[in-house]
Amino acid sequence: MNSVVCISHVPDTEARIKVAGKGVDETGLKFIVSPYDEYALEEAIRIKDAKGGDVTVLTFGPDRAAQALRECLARGATKAIHIKGDASTADALGIAKVLAAAIKTVPHDLVFFGKQGVGTDNGLVGPMVAELLGYPQVNVVTKLEVGEGKITVHREIEAAEEIIESSMPAVITAQKGLNEPRYASLKGIMAAKKVPIDTKSVADLGLQDADIFHQRVVMVSLELPPEKSGGRKIDGSDPVAAAKEILKYIREEAKAL
C-alpha cells in the first residue's frame, strides 16, 4: 500500500495577518504544515505501519516549503517531493495540475489531502486532482478502513455522516477527528535529515508556467476587515434582569425571535 500525501505550508493559525500588495506579508510570519494535512499524513503513516509500502509527501511551494516536508519525514513519511514555485500566484486548478503530474511519477493506491489548506480555505485542490487523475474522491473524511482492494470511508456532511465504499486509487481529504496526529521523535528528526528531497520545477513535469500561474482565478485585492470596537457591555450580576435585557436585544435588534 503506497500513499501520497499532499501538504501545504501555511501561516501559523495564531498569527495576525498583515497585507503586502495583493498578498500576505511574510515578514516575521511563522509557517506550519496546514493543520488538516497533519490528519492526512497520520492516516497514511498508520496504513504504512500496518501494511507496508511508502508514504510520499508532496508539496508545491517556495523554498521555505522544504521545511514542511522535513517535518513530515520526521513524523514517518518515507519519501518527499518538492515542486518549487510560487504557488500563491497559481489558482487551485493550476496547483492541482502540478500535483497531479507529480503524483503520476510515484506508485500510489491512495492520495491524501487535508480537507482544505488553512488560510486560503479553498477546499478545491483535492477534488480537482481526483478529477484530473480520473479517481473517485471522498471529502471531509473522519474514518477510513482499508479492505481488500477497496476502502470504506466516513464522510462528514451537514450534521450527519455518509459511509462510502470506494475502489482504489482514490483521493481522500482529511477532517479533524480522523486520528490523533503524532509528534516527531528525536530519532525521526535525525533520520529525516538523511532522506533526500526530490526537487523539481513545474517545467520538469512537462507543464507550462503560462497554464499554472496567474490563470483562471486572479487576485484583485487582499484587505483586512474593519476592526470591531466592541458594543455595549452590561452587568450580569442579576441573572433575570440580564436575561430580559438579552431577550430584548435578540427581539428588537437581532430580530431573531
Binding site: 479553498n122 478545491l124 483562471r216 476587515p225 466592541g230 435588534e253
Partner: protein, 298 residues
C-alpha cells in the same frame, strides 16, 4: 441565451435555504450578466460521479456565463470536480459577487475571516460556491422552476452505502441562522446541557470552542473557528468563550453577537455587540426561560 446556471439542492422536493440564497444572488446578477437564470437539481441520492456527469451535460447544453453552487458539503464536493473537468477556475465560499467588465468578481474570506480576498474569475463558465447565510433570500426570486437533471446510468467507483441522519432537532452550524456556543467556561462536558437547552428553545445550533472539542466534551462537528467551521449566522451567542484569535476569526462575521463571560477583559467582548459580564450558569437558564416564555406568547 448564456446566463447563469445554479446547481440547487432539494430536501423533500423543496429547495434548501442555501440553494434559495444562491438563486437570489443569481437573480441580482442576471441583469448585468444577461440571459436567464436556470435552476437545476438532481433529485436522487448524491453521488459525485453521477452528479458531475449530469451537470456537465447541462453546462454543455446551456453554456452559461456563470455557474453557482450553494456552499454546502455536496456543493463544495461537486464544484471543483466539474471545474477541473471543464478546465476553469472556482472561487470558493464567496460572500459577495458582482459582474464587472464582463467578468465575475467575488469576495471571499481567507485566513478564516482575518482577511478578505477579492478575485476575478476569468474562465467560462465562471464558477463560485456561495457561503451559507451570506446572501439574503429574495422572496419570489428564489422560487423558479427547477429543472430536474436526468441521472446518467454510469457505474461509479465510489458508492454511498449508508447515511446516518442527525438526531431530531440537531441543526448543523454550517447552515444555522442562530448558533449558541459554549467554551471552557462550561467547566465540564455535562454542562453542555446549558448550551443545548438554550439552542433548542431558540431553534438554533450548538457550537463549541476548540478547547472543549479537544477536551472531548463535544464532537468536532460543532467546532467554530479556524480548524472548525467559519460561520456567519444572524445571531451568535457565545457563553464561557474567552475568544482566542482562531475562534474570533471563525465567528466575527456573524451579524449579531452576544457574549456572556465572567471575565470583563475577555477578548470575545471586542467583537460582541452585546456583552454580558456574569455567570453563565445563572444567566443561561434564565435566558432559556425567557425565550420559552416569549415563544409561548406567540
Amino acid at each position: 441565451m448564456p446566463g447563469i446556471l445554479v446547481y440547487c439542492e432539494l430536501k423533500d422536493g423543496k429547495l434548501k435555504k442555501t440553494s434559495r440564497e444562491a438563486l437570489s444572488i443569481a437573480r441580482k446578477l442576471a441583469g448585468s450578466v444577461g440571459g436567464d437564470v436556470v435552476a437545476v437539481a438532481v433529485d436522487a441520492a448524491y453521488s459525485t460521479e453521477k452528479n458531475a456527469a449530469a451537470l456537465e451535460a447541462k453546462v454543455k447544453e446551456v453554456q452559461p456565463a456563470v455557474l453557482l453552487f450553494p456552499g454546502t458539503s455536496n456543493g463544495r464536493d461537486l464544484a471543483p470536480r466539474i471545474a477541473a473537468r471543464l478546465g476553469v477556475g472556482v472561487a470558493s465560499d464567496v460572500d459577495r459577487l458582482a459582474w464587472t467588465d464582463g467578468k465575475l468578481r467575488a469576495r471571499r474570506p481567507v485566513y478564516s475571516g482575518k482577511a478578505f480576498a477579492t478575485v476575478e474569475i476569468t474562465g467560462t463558465p465562471a464558477i463560485a460556491t456561495c457561503r451559507p447565510n451570506a446572501f439574503p433570500v429574495e422572496e419570489g426570486a428564489a422560487d423558479p422552476r427547477v429543472v430536474n437533471l436526468p441521472v446518467p446510468a454510469i457505474e461509479t467507483k465510489a458508492k454511498t452505502i449508508e447515511t446516518k441522519t442527525p438526531e431530531a432537532g440537531e441543526i448543523s452550524i454550517a447552515e444555522a441562522d442562530i448558533i449558541v456556543s459554549g467554551g471552557r467556561g462550561l467547566k465540564e462536558a455535562a454542562n453542555y446541557s446549558y448550551i443545548r437547552d438554550l439552542a433548542h428553545a431558540i431553534g438554533g445550533a450548538v457550537g463549541a470552542s476548540r478547547a472543549t472539542v479537544d477536551a472531548g466534551w463535544i464532537d468536532h462537528q460543532h467546532q467554530v473557528g479556524q480548524t472548525g467551521r467559519v460561520v456567519s449566522p444572524s445571531l451568535y451567542i457565545a457563553a464561557g468563550i474567552s475568544g482566542a484569535i482562531q475562534h474570533l476569526a471563525g465567528m466575527s462575521s456573524s451579524k449579531h453577537i452576544i457574549a456572556i463571560n465572567k471575565d470583563p477583559e475577555a477578548a470575545i467582548f471586542r467583537v460582541a455587540d452585546l456583552g454580558v459580564v456574569g455567570d453563565l450558569f445563572q444567566i443561561l437558564p434564565a435566558l432559556t426561560e425567557e425565550v420559552k416564555k416569549a415563544k409561548g406568547a406567540h
